[in-house]
């Protein structure tokens, strides 16, 4: 009970859970949702941009590499590319105190070799001009990155970042 009170007094705890189709138009939707979700924590512009980039990378990975939906596609606005594989990306965000945790999960083809995937410039899709910088950006822009994946069993990215790292701006309690 005491612990609970303490948690609440630390301020802002919140959760967000959503699921969307694995198509490219949802990449901007996902990062907008996260940036709106963390806005009450007053992150700096740089922190906001970091989180958006990391989320965009993770969601794009799920769509392109997890489900193989390599074409840009807006339902109803464009001709449907020949092969769109139906799949969902799940995103879960949690704010605890001043730490944001983001989980992005898909049920796609998974990663054969996580260590190799983490190497900057390594990509399995060079023909699509993927730069191979996705995981490098996630690592650079977030404080913590974990990749849980096995071939054929989807992929789950867990990232954490401390926000509002400007204590001199905090109000006295």
């Amino acid at each position: 009970m005491k612990q609970e009170e303490k948690k609440i007094s630390r301020g802002y705890d919140n959760e967000l859970r959503m699921e969307f189709d694995a198509v490219s138009c949802n990449e901007s939707f996902a990062r907008m949702a996260v940036s709106a979700f963390i806005a009450p924590l007053n992150p700096t512009m740089e922190e906001m941009a970091d989180v958006k980039t990391a989320v965009s990378e993770a969601v794009t990975n799920a769509i392109i590499h997890g489900y193989g939906n390599v074409q840009g596609y807006i339902p109803g606005h464009m001709q449907c590319p020949r092969e769109i594989s139906v799949g969902k990306v799940r995103m879960y965000c949690r704010i605890e105190g001043d730490v944001l945790a983001v989980e992005i999960e898909d049920d796609g083809q998974g990663i054969d070799n996580v260590e190799q995937a983490l190497e900057p410039l390594f990509t399995t899709k060079p023909e699509l001009e993927r730069s191979g910088m996705g995981f490098a950006f996630m690592e650079a822009f977030m404080d913590d990155l974990q990749i849980l994946s096995a071939p054929g069993r989807g992929c789950k990215i867990v990232m954490e970042k401390k926000l509002g790292s400007m204590p001199w701006l905090e109000e006295d309690e």
């Binding site: 490219s24 901007s28 980039t53 794009t60 900057p120």
Partner: protein, 102 residues
């Protein structure tokens, strides 16, 4: 907002859109390549004035164009890149092949 393309004195000016992600990167690359084939392009200038967001898909666009133009002796420039886009260019190592200008 879509990317805007102009050829000025054999330089291809690409005005990048507000958000650069995988969703639009393919279209930008294809359009830029059609100019590279048609005109004798000596360099590409990516203008990030309106760009508020870019992820690794933007890095892919620039890298891909560099591979095509560098064997013809062409160069790549980036202008109006804000702090975040500069960070991305530096972290990805693109700053070594792209001339970042004010």
């Amino acid at each position: 907002m879509e990317a805007d393309f102009q050829v000025i004195d054999n330089y291809l000016m690409v005005k990048m859109p507000a958000e650069i992600d995988h969703h639009q990167s393919g279209a930008i690359s294809r359009k830029a390549d059609s100019f590279l084939l048609r005109d004798s392009i000596q360099g590409i200038v990516f203008d990030f004035e309106d760009t508020k967001f870019m992820d690794s898909s933007g890095v892919g666009i620039i890298m891909g164009r560099y591979k095509k133009i560098s064997c013809l002796g062409g160069r790549i420039f980036a202008i109006h890149a804000d702090r975040q886009i500069r960070r991305i260019l530096y972290i990805s190592g693109l700053s070594k092949i792209v001339e970042i200008m004010e």
